[in-house]
Symmetry: C2
């Protein structure tokens, strides 16, 4: 078998594949039904290049046009489904999310880290509490969410340092922690207490608690979260009422993923 270089060289790079994704992802809330010209402006590619990519995406069923306006098709949603299908833990998490949502009467979520952001990988909504759409696949800041804090807390000292160097600690509200040193302290607290509570740092009035989900190696592979609006439940009540249920559910899911307390902490944890 040939040697696999994970870095790759420029010769190994398929530019038209990158460009195809760039065109597909140029469709967003600000560009829902763009023309060819608008897509060329958004991507910086020439019109003939965008045209060829659009026609290819159309033949693959991902975009459709009505006159000169283009739009995404629901087939785009099925791409994401392949991630869900290849990750047994999302399937296994589903009944746990349902039970957590039922026991707390609050929305339950499972999230993972993707580079320096958090991605919702599964969710059972109970009521609408965020102004943003928190459909599966939604990305949010890691530093300003309880899920992100949990995922970072156990990601290892080097990973945390890299995050603090790379990620812009954007203030989403007046309460958002934007000081690297303060965030580092907050992460240490999360590791100590075993869970995270974030109150109004991503959005005013949004409050959430998260706990780590571990696999059989002991690595934290996901964060389980329960979120509510500050008006419904004070942080203190969230802590005394929701956190125990959250921890219990995260432990049950971790156990199902093969984690046992006796498991050696994962080498990458670095904190034990």
């Amino acid at each position: 078998m040939e040697t696999m270089s994970t870095a790759g060289t420029d010769r190994d790079y398929v530019q038209s594949l990158e460009r195809g994704f760039a065109v597909l992802l140029a469709f967003d809330e600000d560009l829902t039904n763009p023309t060819l010209a608008e897509l060329a402006t958004a991507t910086g590619f020439s019109r003939p290049a965008v045209r060829r990519l659009l026609l290819t995406l159309q033949r693959l069923g991902y975009v459709a046009n009505e006159g000169t306006r283009w739009s995404l098709t629901p087939r785009v949603l099925t791409i994401g489904q392949h991630y869900t299908a290849t990750n047994a833990r999302i399937e296994l998490a589903h009944p746990h999310l349902l039970r957590l949502a039922e026991r707390t009467s609050e929305s339950a979520s499972l999230a993972e880290l993707d580079h320096n952001e958090v991605v919702y990988v599964a969710r059972v909504p109970v009521r609408r509490i965020m102004s943003i759409n928190v459909a599966v696949g939604t990305r949010v800041s890691a530093h300003a969410t309880s899920m992100g804090r949990v995922l970072l807390a156990w990601s290892g000292p080097e990973r945390i340092t890299r995050f603090l160097e790379e990620a812009p600690l954007r203030p989403h509200t007046a309460r958002t922690l934007t000081d690297p040193a303060q965030l580092r302290t907050a992460l240490a607290t999360v590791r100590e207490q075993g869970w995270s509570l974030v109150d109004g740092e991503l959005e005013e009035g949004l409050i959430s608690v998260s706990a780590p989900v571990r696999d059989r190696t002991g690595a934290v592979v996901a964060a389980l979260a329960s979120s509510t609006s500050a008006g419904r439940l004070a942080p203190e009540r969230l802590q005394t009422e929701t956190v125990p249920t959250l921890l219990e559910t995260a432990a049950a899911l971790s156990q199902e993923l093969g984690y046992t307390q006796r498991t050696q902490p994962h080498a990458r944890d670095g904190f034990f």
Copy 2:
């Protein structure tokens, strides 16, 4: 502005883009952590070609490797999120789905047609009733689901004929309608009564009801569904208790999308 041909010619086709998607979509429940060789076998491409595509997908953040095994990253989920972000109706449907789920104590779904299949575009799960994972982005047979019957029923006579010619009417259970003439009759009934009930045709014990969601042109753009297990609710009770709530919710959502009873029926409906 140049003339846009929607058909395109072979010269307009970017083969490496198609191949990149083929490699990405080769990851599924049967191939969760493939090697390069397994991906080459699955796609039919040469190993060097698969290697270049994988390295490109890796640089884009969609795949990762551990040794010789490759896997999808959660970033793949965020591709689908672009469809949700570009479709106001999914955002608008969310509170309606929550209310439907709350009032019926059953899972509520919104689905759209993608070629000859149904794709879940939004969902509020209440309990686990299907053996398959019905995450957003999941594709199911149109002929064997109440959502598919609703979406087909108002898709127009030509579309229905094309569907019956193209789609394999696969028997999922002993009850699945697989005779084109019978399916045609079932669709006429759906149009007449304004909703669809399908009992155990996709999966034994799974029963669901669906109603059409219309936009301001009068076109049926989505199906709203409520699903339960046959053990919990007999078809008769579903009809008398759930259907009125379902129709009311679908009407409220349609109204929010700009549909009024006085709106001219959409030309493509063809049935009025």
